[in-house]
Each structure stands twice: as C-alpha cells, then as structure tokens.
Amino acid sequence: MRVVVATVILVLAPRVALACPACALVGVNENSTAYVSMTIMLMALPLGMIIGIAIWLYRSVRRAEAGAQVCERVIRSARRQRACFGPE
C-alpha cells in the first residue's frame, strides 16, 4: 500500500514549480537571466540609496558637531579672557 501511495504522489507531483507568475517565458535561458538580474537590481538599488544617504547624513552630522565643539571652545575661551581682563 505504501509503495502505491508513494508512486501516485511521485507521478502526480509537479515537475516544475513556477513560483513567479510573471515569468511566462521561463526556460529561455537569456530571459530568466534577465529576470533574475533585474530583480536583484530593483531590490538592491533602493536599499543602496537609503544606506548611502544615511551614511552621508551621519558623516555630515558628525563633521558639523566637531566643528561646533571647536567654535564653542573658542567662544568660552574668549569670554574667560574678557572676564579676567575686561573688555579691550
């Protein structure tokens, strides 16, 4: 009985599982390569842009903060000098 059930399942099992409803011409090698490469491109492009902009913004903020700290130190030092020696 088991052998019969296994044989029926094997016979009825689909040979090709077509997961992509748009890939009507899958099988033509060049076409499937085009589908795969363009899918990868369309997936990677927005992620790459978002990551790129995030890194650029992070670096810009870091640079601006470093610049602001230098400015703050200069202002404080100028105020101290004025407090000690009075205005020129």
Binding site: V28, A34, M38, L42, P46, A64, R76, R79, A83, C84
Partner: protein, 196 residues
C-alpha cells in the same frame, strides 16, 4: 583676595542646518527618479531578452548611432566634472565659479541639442515610437532623460544667473548640482544598455 570668575551663562542651543533643505529634498526626488529609470531599464532588458527573433528591431530600421552618441556622452560627463570643479571654486570665492558653471551649462546644452539632432535623423530613417519595440523603448527612455536634462539645465541656468547677480544661496546651487549629477550619472547606464 582671590578674584572669582563670574558664572558663564550657558550658550544658547541653536539648531544648525547640517544639510541644506534644498539638497535633502532634491536627494529624495532624485531617489524616486533613479527608481523610475531603473524600472524603465528593467522593462527594456526583460522585453529585449524575451523578444522573438526579428521582432525587437525591424531589419528596415537603422542601427542606433552608438559612436556618434559617444561624443554627446563625453560632453555630458565633462559638464558634470566641470560642475564639481565649479563647486570647489564657489567654496573659495563664489564669484569665480560663474564662468565654470556657464561652461558646464553650455556642454549640457550641447548634449541636449545633439540628442535632438540624432532623434531627427532616426525619425527620418524610419525608427519611430510605433515602428518597433526598440523604437518605443528608445524614445521613452532617452526622451525621459532628455526632459530631465532640460529641467536640470533650467535649474543650472537660474543658478548661474543668480551667481552673476550675487544673489545665489549655497543651498540652491547644491540642489541644482545634485540634479545635474543625477542627469549625468544616469546617462552612461542608459547609453550602455540601450545603444549596444
């Protein structure tokens, strides 16, 4: 008697503009435009790969002039590089960048004019938007890029005019530059994919 320092008032917390709003807005716009062109290129590639023999380009249609377009491409890339140089000049001395921006604008305009001339030639030789699949894709993709190039040229022209008048804000120049870099950067991809 020891002199005591008066307590320093805390520095007011100020909001600093790290990235100009114009650049951030332009980056978001350019991101959407990159995806627009990626969709077009993707459709082009998949349709070309799946086209039955003889249906992609009709035998009576001309071959796309890749060699002649290489010159246009060189002009556009040179324009982008000049704008990078103009940006450096602007940081040192804003007035000195006007000539370089104008030169970059002129090279961009040359690109648009030569592309227009190429279109006239192709139309007269029988490659139209309806003649074949290649014709449809060619005019849609290259036409969309041409429209973007014209828009970017207008922005760059306004930037140059304001630079001459001394009323240009760094944010406006950076926004116009970002858009132009997009136009320059996306073209080699279109050229490499569509013309060959």
């Amino acid at each position: 008697m020891e002199a005591t320092l008066p307590a320093l008032p805390a520095l007011p917390a100020r909001r600093r503009e790290v990235v100009p709003n114009s650049v951030l807005g332009m980056l978001l716009f350019v991101g959407a435009e990159v995806m627009f062109f990626a969709g077009l290129i993707s459709a082009f590639t998949i349709t070309q790969a799946g086209a039955k023999p003889g249906t992609w380009r009709l035998p009576s249609e001309p071959v796309l002039p890749a060699t002649a377009t290489a010159f246009n491409t060189a002009a556009l890339v040179a324009s982008g590089l000049l704008l990078v140089w103009a940006n450096r000049q602007y940081r040192r001395n804003p007035a000195s960048a006007a000539q370089t921006v104008l030169l970059a604008w002129m090279l961009g305009a040359i690109f648009v004019v030569l592309q227009g001339r190429e279109w006239i030639g192709l139309l007269s030789q029988g490659l139209t938007i309806r003649s074949s699949t290649l014709g449809s894709f060619f005019y849609v993709i290259v036409g969309a890029h041409g429209l973007h190039a014209v828009g970017a040229l207008i922005g760059l022209g306004v930037a140059w005019w304001r630079l001459r008048q001394g009323t240009l804000s760094p944010g406006f120049l950076l926004g116009a530059q970002t858009f132009w870099y997009f136009v320059v950067g996306v073209w080699p991809v279109i050229y490499g994919r569509v013309y060959f």
